[in-house]
């Protein structure tokens, strides 16, 4: 099992979620995060019309634990939902998961995903 963590734009959440569901991946959860990377920051304006930049940008993190064979489809789904070709589109990280347990039943392993 692998864990996919994708940091994306908040407004990409729904398209990505839809793509993942279409790809058969329905178990997931999301978190609000603030990101910092190549994207320079968000420009805001003061009430005197002066501009300033905030260097932490609101992002959303989608996390889903999936079977190994689902990794590539998941990555593709996320990219197709989140890509706008501008910096700040986000990153996807893949890590290994050793065990998964369903609280309701105590079942373990791939079936619980």
């Amino acid at each position: 099992m692998k864990k996919i963590e994708a940091i994306i734009r908040p407004e990409a959440l729904e398209p990505v979620k839809r793509q993942l569901i279409d790809a058969g991946i329905t178990g997931l959860h999301v978190e609000r995060v603030a990101g910092h990377g190549y994207q320079g920051g968000v420009v805001q304006a003061g009430r005197g019309g002066q501009f300033y930049t905030v260097d932490m940008i609101p992002k959303v993190k989608i996390i889903t634990v999936i079977s190994d064979f689902n990794v590539e489809p998941a990555i593709e789904a996320i990219i197709s939902g989140a890509r706008t070709d501008n910096t700040g589109d986000g990153k996807i990280f893949v890590t290994d998961v050793e065990e998964a347990v369903r609280v309701r039943t105590g079942e373990r392993g791939r079936e619980v995903l």
Partner: protein
């Protein structure tokens, strides 16, 4: 006007002004976070825009010398020659001209273009509101001459706003992501908004007596009873239909009761006229029935796909406004407002009320639709799909409603300055040098 009446009317005008921020909160609490600030702005900006329009030409179109029962002329353009009581009446009426367009905005929150809204508003006050106001309240207005009764704005404010909302919902089109439902992001904002509306409504209704006398007292009490009836009824309805007593329902019910009593507040009260044994009855009935009608109107309209009147302006203001105008024709008693309604023995008033309702409805719907139709020739009425997805706060105003999160907004390394902060006297020296 003596000092007491002046004091009450000044107070009332201030109270009605406060209703618009109250409405801004009421509406904002009902939408999603990402358009929460923009929704506030859509009401708040009306205080500026409507005031300017009203003091320039709006008041004159409404209350200038009558032209054919239909509209006022420009004799009082720019407040020409107004002072004292006339000026006070202008100010009181101004507050109504502010909140009415603000009410309409509920129909197309979360997607309207701010620019289009401003253009629509200026045109709407001029073309739709001012004439209708003239018909009903100005000397020579044809509905006034006909004898239709509208104490504090059932037709002018509520039916008018409701019908325009209907046109707006049709022309602006439904939200892209959620046809039928709105998801309130802050219940407490809804209730405080309703509280401020209720508070201000005493100015709206009891102020419409234009004096601090028994008529104002009567309007005050009718207002309170009807609002309470609406509150209780809607709470119980939501309890019955969803299994939980809804807080937003309670707030909405109060507003429904307030809307319904608006045209009636100065005409109903004593009941039955003969011995007044049930004086509480007409207002309670108007409030309760208003809530029931509003509740089922929302249910009915939510099945209608093209009509995404998001915050139910037509259901709450249009339907309850019509009911209130109709109920005035039922319950009016000569002892209170000088004219009897159908139950009091005279069917005349009822027919006049129906004429008033239909005239306001048709006038407002057709002309509002017309204005939208023209405006959309020049600019899009709604924002782009991406902007709608991002939310109006960021896309239209570049100002998120909330940045509560300290993360990323709290203390920003890039800004930090390592230099010493000068002492006060040091800074003063630099200033003077």
């Amino acid at each position: 006007m003596d000092s007491g009446n002046t004091a009450w009317l000044l107070t009332s005008a201030a109270l009605v002004l406060l209703m618009t921020p109250g409405l801004a909160f009421f509406y904002s609490g009902l939408v999603r976070t990402k358009s929460a600030a923009a929704t506030i702005m859509q009401s708040f900006v009306m205080i500026g825009v409507a005031t300017v329009v009203w003091v320039l030409w709006g008041y004159s179109l409404a209350f200038g010398t009558d032209i054919g029962g239909f509209v006022g002329n420009l004799t009082v353009f720019g407040l020409r020659g107004l002072e004292g009581d006339g000026l006070l009446f202008m100010a009181f009426q101004l507050m109504f001209a502010i909140i009415t367009p603000a009410l309409i905005t509920g129909a197309f929150v979360e997607r309207i273009s701010f620019k289009a809204l401003l253009v629509f508003t200026v045109a709407w006050i001029t073309i739709v509101y001012a004439p209708l106001c003239h018909w009903v309240w100005a000397e020579g207005g044809w509905l006034l001459d006909l004898g239709a009764a509208d104490f504090a704005g059932g037709t002018v404010v509520h039916i008018n706003a409701g019908a325009a909302a209907l046109a707006g919902a049709l022309f602006v089109g439904r939200r892209r992501d959620s046809v039928a439902e709105t998801r309130p992001h802050d219940v407490s904002k809804v209730v405080i908004g309703a509280g401020l509306l209720w508070f201000g409504w005493f100015g709206f209704n009891a102020g419409s007596a234009l004096a601090a006398d028994g008529g104002a007292v009567n309007a005050f009490v009718q207002t309170q009873i009807s609002a309470a009836g609406g509150l209780v009824a809607w709470t119980l309805l939501s309890w019955k239909y969803t299994g939980h007593p809804s807080i937003i329902g309670a707030a909405t019910g109060a507003v429904a009761g307030l809307v319904a009593i608006t045209p009636a507040a100065g005409f109903v009260g004593q009941w039955p006229a003969t011995d007044g044994y049930l004086n509480f009855f007409p207002a309670l009935c108007i409030g309760v029935v208003g809530a029931v009608l509003g509740f089922f109107a929302i249910r009915a309209l939510h099945n209608w796909r093209d009509m995404d009147d998001t915050l139910d302006v037509f259901a709450v203001h249009g339907v309850c406004g019509m009911w209130g105008a109709f109920a005035t024709g039922l319950f009016a008693v000569a002892e209170i407002g000088g004219v009897n309604g159908a139950i009091g023995g005279s069917a005349d008033l009822l027919w006049r009320q129906i004429v008033g309702i239909l005239a306001a409805l048709a006038w407002s719907f057709v002309l509002s639709a017309g204005i939208f139709w023209v405006v959309q020739k020049f600019m899009p009425l709604r924002v782009s799909e991406t902007d709608e997805m991002i939310g109006l706060d960021r896309s239209e105003h570049n100002e998120a409603a909330y940045e509560y999160d300290e993360i990323g907004f709290g203390w920003d390394a890039s800004d930090t300055i390592d230099e010493e902060i000068p002492s006060g006297t040091e800074a003063l020296k630099r200033l003077l040098s």
